[in-house]
């Protein structure tokens, strides 16, 4: 049954293109970068200052582009205390509207089914209590609901048809499915590392490992697997989940609602993307300064491609499955970067520096999921 949900999404095949326009958020610079890729080089088209409390880092974190490409949205993580969603005109970058969300709103996506935007409220502030997913009417820029999910939800992604929303609860080790229409949590899946350790019973490595350890070392929290991202497959009833804490990617059967495969990865996988042709998985390894490309048929890592700067964060893939674009945060005053990776040659072909702590990334227009070309 679930399979049909995914097949429904298959539609027209977009023309393959080597050109792309993308947006990148520099979280510690309160800036969004409008970038162009011409098939060989990345370049900065425009830089947009975002935020409202000028002398504080407000942290633009998540980005998404409306399906029609006319608007883009950025989540501002820090607020008073709640974060904000801003809506911009895609051509002029004029600010068109805003909506207050929850604590530390992060990643988000607009459903092709409902037209609503779903944004996880990551609540990075350390209170390990269940947080929420904000649901926003992007025409009126009104939050119409906040749905309680899990602790530190991240990786807000929708099924190809847009009827189901998936997010990971990083600090309660859960995959959570939300009905995008009724706005109710319909299923939860405990995510383990495969050894039997359960959330609450162990001490995993630092969340978002790969960054320099804090000077004093934080108390360990209960989570073991620390899932940070989920991405449904474009045509199959499966989803892939990055387990940041145990260096694995999971394949979850969405019909049986169980873990079916585990892929070992480089250190601290963080974000991931399935290529629109459904054959490969591109994973950022936050702790390995690299991006992994995994063959979904064999489960083997085809390549581990070094990124230009440390702490790779977000990843998107062009609709023709040819290029992946990856953000790199780096540290301190070092600029962030965006890398373009050729998924045919499995090499990094271009990089461009952007602002501090480059994280969120979105393709313009969107990755055009759920459209899938014919299989390779």
């Amino acid at each position: 049954m679930i399979a049909t949900l995914f097949l429904l999404g298959v539609g027209t095949i977009p023309a393959a293109t080597s050109e792309a326009r993308l947006l990148v958020a520099a979280e510690s610079a309160d800036r969004v970068y409008d970038l162009a890729f011409d098939g060989s080089d990345l370049s900065v088209r425009e830089v947009i200052d975002v935020g409202y409390q000028a002398t504080e880092i407000e942290g633009p974190h998540g980005l998404t582009v409306s399906p029609d490409g006319k608007h883009w949205f950025v989540s501002i993580a820090h607020g008073k205390p709640n974060g904000i969603l801003y809506k911009y005109d895609a051509e002029t970058h004029d600010l068109l509207g805003e909506a207050e969300l929850g604590l530390f709103p992060a990643t988000m996506q607009i459903s092709p089914d409902t037209g609503l935007l779903y944004c996880v409220n990551f609540d990075l502030h350390g209170d390990m209590t269940p947080s929420t997913v904000s649901v926003v009417d992007v025409e009126g820029m009104v939050e119409i609901e906040q749905v309680v999910t899990g602790s530190m939800p991240h990786g807000s992604r929708l099924s190809p048809d847009g009827s189901r929303h998936f997010s990971c609860a990083m600090m309660s080790d859960e995959l959570i499915e939300l009905d995008a229409v009724t706005l109710e949590v319909v299923r939860r899946l405990e995510l383990t590392d495969g050894t039997g350790r359960r959330a609450g019973g162990g001490h995993g490595p630092d969340a978002e490992a790969g960054a320099q350890a804090g000077a004093g070392g934080a108390p360990q929290h209960a989570a073991v697997a620390k899932p940070t991202w989920v991405q449904p497959h474009p045509t199959k009833p499966v989803a892939y989940v990055a387990l940041n804490g145990v260096h694995q990617v999971l394949e979850v059967d969405l019909e049986k609602w169980k873990i079916t495969r585990r892929f070992p990865t480089g250190r601290a996988p963080y974000n991931l993307e399935v290529t629109p042709d459904g054959t490969r998985l591109v994973v950022t390894y936050k702790g390995a300064q690299a991006v992994g490309v995994i063959d979904l048929k064999t489960g083997k890592e085809l390549a581990r491609i070094p990124t230009s700067r440390p702490i790779p964060h977000g990843v998107v893939v062009t609709a023709d499955s040819r290029y992946a674009f990856v953000t790199c945060e780096d540290r301190g005053a070092a600029p962030g970067a965006v890398d373009a990776i050729d998924l045919e040659t499995l090499r990094r072909v271009s990089s461009v520096d952007v602002g501090l702590q480059a994280g969120g990334i979105a393709l313009f227009p969107a990755t055009q999921r759920p459209v899938a070309p014919s299989r390779r």
């Binding site: 049909t4 298959v10 399906p67 820090h78 604590l103 209170d127 009417d137 960054a211 320099q212 540290r331």
Partner: protein, 684 residues
């Protein structure tokens, strides 16, 4: 199975059928997905097109998709409210009114198949959507009453203020704007704001009318017995900015004091300013004290206080002279930081008897710079500590000069928190420990009081952290404003009282060890608070006014209505200092402001009745805050001196952006966002 099929029969998507359709639509066969896109020829009809409801009332919306021929077609829709706390709608279209107002329900066609009924594949603009306006009526007014004036007696030649109070059919208070009238008008008249003027003795009736309801009150005016008014002042030769206290005694023809008849006091001014003077002064009644007023002159000149009641009047003259406190800041030294922005500072005497300062950095490499400022004319940068952060917004040093605390934002591991640094030898500072438990979202400000650090977290609270073992800090307490979505920006601790600045929640005073409310670091107890409407409260500095003994908190704003330019050109913030009289903790009162035009405040410090304000683009300011405070301090000539930290080699050249001041051993040190650390001397 859901396909884009024409159906002969109408299908209203209501009640349980909607749920069934929602589910059915999820299981279309793959073949359907390959169909050609349908032309966007359908319409969505929602009935009724608008709703008018009473509170508590419900109504149902029906939604029908129709094809180009007007025939109903099957298809799923969804309902949502754009004001869910005032108006709800369930998934079947049942709308329920909660609060009065005008709201919107959106009925939207869902689509679970790419290319379904749209020109572009998933173009939101092509989606069928209907917005239904819903008016939830105010409950009918059930009762209108005229609020009783505290004084039931009225006298000729005086005024009284009346107010109308409404109650709705649900028994709730209801704001009304009535039409007022009196009769006979020869005895009394009333204006449209409800203020009655009594012209003659006798009875008269006051009527208020609103929404078809009437309220009446009969009053009887007596002849005003006052024949003489005597105005006294505690100072008839004030300086501008001095608060003059006025007292009025009223007498009848027999020379007896009359206490129960209203008296008004105003003033007439003839200022010395012949250059187009603005406001000359300000007068107000002293709340809670009969026949008492306070006055402050903003301009030098001659003032006449006029008391009146009925036909009686009393006058008193006063001459205000210029405050004449002008001094100047003299530049002593400058420790330039030009590679990045500078944030806060702290100055202290080191264990070796020399004087040191530490400054943070903003949007950069996580540096904190240490300076030898023993000779303020030769400020020397002596060391730098770099932590994993982009902004070290706040820096504080313990009173014993041993521990420095750095706030951390933008850490690469997003754990942030605070970092403790051993500064017993500031030339060789050593990181001792970090603490980030539940401070991971970033710490913006900190304060050290004894062996406790107060650190902000989540923009919502501050934690008290025990650093008696600096290698192993431990949280011992937390204070959070008890309001939905509380927000905090800064905290300052003095005499065991914590003064937090909480944006729209204003200043909170909390016992964290003073003992007056039984509070302690692990059991913070709120004592008092005061909020002002702008919601810009960013900093707070408490001070007991030396001459009067009054206890004030100077609350500073921060606002950037015109944005922040991080590179290349200056920034133009806004905001001012609010003086809040907390002498009566039960009843704090905002009494004065200091506002430099076209500029915005940041941090401040008050010492010996002089306020030093880092006024961002207006530079460093010194202000005389001696004596009781009232009115517009800037206009009163209380400003002593100002200094613009122009630096042609600054990170943004020649763009003053004063961040925070601190007086130390006769000098005023301050940090500037664009140019680093400065030392000036105030000459009076």
């Amino acid at each position: 199975m859901h396909r884009l099929l024409r159906r002969p029969a109408a299908l209203h998507l209501r009640a349980a059928s909607l749920i069934a359709l929602l589910l059915a639509g999820a299981f279309a066969p793959a073949a359907a997905a390959q169909e050609e896109e349908a032309a966007p020829t359908r319409t969505l009809v929602v009935e009724p097109a608008e709703l008018v409801l009473e509170i508590g009332q419900s109504a149902e919306l029906s939604a029908t998709l129709r094809d180009a021929a007007g025939d109903p077609v099957e298809g799923p829709v969804m309902f949502f409210s754009r004001s869910r706390k005032s108006l709800t709608v369930d998934r079947e279209g049942k709308v329920s009114a909660i609060k009065p107002g005008t709201f919107e329900i959106v009925v939207r066609e869902r689509r679970r198949r790419s290319g379904e009924n749209q020109a572009s594949r998933v173009g939101l603009g092509e989606r069928l959507s209907v917005t239904v306006p819903v008016t939830v009526k105010l409950p009918d007014l059930a009762l209108l009453e005229i609020g009783a004036n505290p004084s039931t007696a009225v006298w000729t030649g005086t005024t009284i203020q009346l107010a109308a109070e409404g109650t709705d059919v649900n028994g709730a208070d209801r704001a009304v704007t009535p039409t007022w009238s009196t009769r006979p008008a020869a005895v009394a008249t009333i204006d449209n704001l409800g203020e009655v003027t009594v012209h003659a003795a006798g009875s008269f009736e006051v009527t208020a009318e609103a929404e078809g309801k009437l309220a009446t009150m009969t009053l009887t005016a007596a002849a005003n017995p006052i024949t003489r008014l005597v105005v006294e002042a505690d100072n008839t030769a004030p300086k501008t900015g001095d608060v003059v206290h006025l007292r009025v005694d009223a007498f009848n023809a027999a020379g007896e004091i009359i206490t129960d008849v209203p008296v008004e006091v105003t003033f007439r001014a003839r200022t010395d300013d012949d250059l187009g003077p603005g406001a000359s002064g300000q007068i107000e009644a002293v709340e809670g004290t009969a026949r008492a007023w306070r006055f402050v002159a903003e301009q030098p000149g001659r003032y006449t206080f006029v008391a009146s009641s009925g036909n009686a009047a009393g006058r008193l003259g006063a001459v205000a002279t210029a405050r004449d406190v002008a001094g100047k800041f003299t530049l002593v030294g400058h420790g330039r930081v030009d590679d990045t922005h500078t944030s806060d500072l702290w100055v202290w005497e080191g264990l070796d008897g020399r004087d040191y300062a530490v400054t943070g950095t903003w949007g950069a490499n996580g540096d904190a710079h240490f300076w030898d400022v023993t000779d303020p004319a030769n400020i020397e940068r002596i060391s730098t500590v770099t932590i994993d952060a982009r902004t070290v917004n706040d820096v504080k040093v313990s009173a014993d000069g041993r521990i420095c605390v750095l706030s951390r934002e933008g850490a690469s591991d997003r754990k942030n928190g605070i970092v403790l640094v051993d500064v017993m030898d500031p030339r060789n500072p050593k990181i001792l420990s970090g603490f980030d438990d539940s401070l991971t979202g970033g710490v913006h400000n900190v304060f050290i009081d004894g062996d406790k650090v107060y650190a902000l977290s989540a923009s919502a609270r501050y934690d008290s952290i025990d650093i008696s073992d600096p290698g192993s800090p431990q949280r011992v307490g937390t204070y959070k404003v008890e309001r939905p979505n509380p927000s905090i920006h800064d905290v300052w601790v003095e005499d065991g009282l914590a003064y937090s600045s909480n944006w729209s929640d204003g200043v909170h005073i909390v016992d964290v060890g003073n003992g007056m409310a039984g509070g302690s670091p692990d059991n913070p107890v709120k004592i008092s608070s005061y909020a002002y409407p702008s919601g810009w409260n960013h900093a707070a500095f408490p001070f007991r006014q030396q001459e009067t003994g009054k206890f004030y908190v100077a609350a500073g704003d921060e606002a950037f209505p015109y944005g922040l330019n991080t590179e290349g050109k200056p920034t133009y913030p806004r905001g001012w200092i609010h003086f809040i009289d907390f002498s009566d903790l039960e009843s704090p009162r905002e009494c004065a402001r200091y506002q430099v035009p076209e500029a915005g405040t940041h941090n401040l410090w008050i010492e010996d009745d002089v306020m030093y304000v880092a006024y961002y683009n207006a530079g460093l300011r010194a202000v005389d805050v001696s004596g009781e405070l009232m009115g517009d301090v800037y206009q009163q000539g209380r400003e002593i001196a100002w200094f613009l930290p122009d630096d042609p080699e600054g990170h943004i050249p020649n763009a003053p952006m004063a961040w925070g001041p601190q007086p130390h051993k006769g000098h005023i040190f301050f940090s500037d966002w664009n140019s680093g650390l400065w030392a000036v001397k105030l000459e009076r």
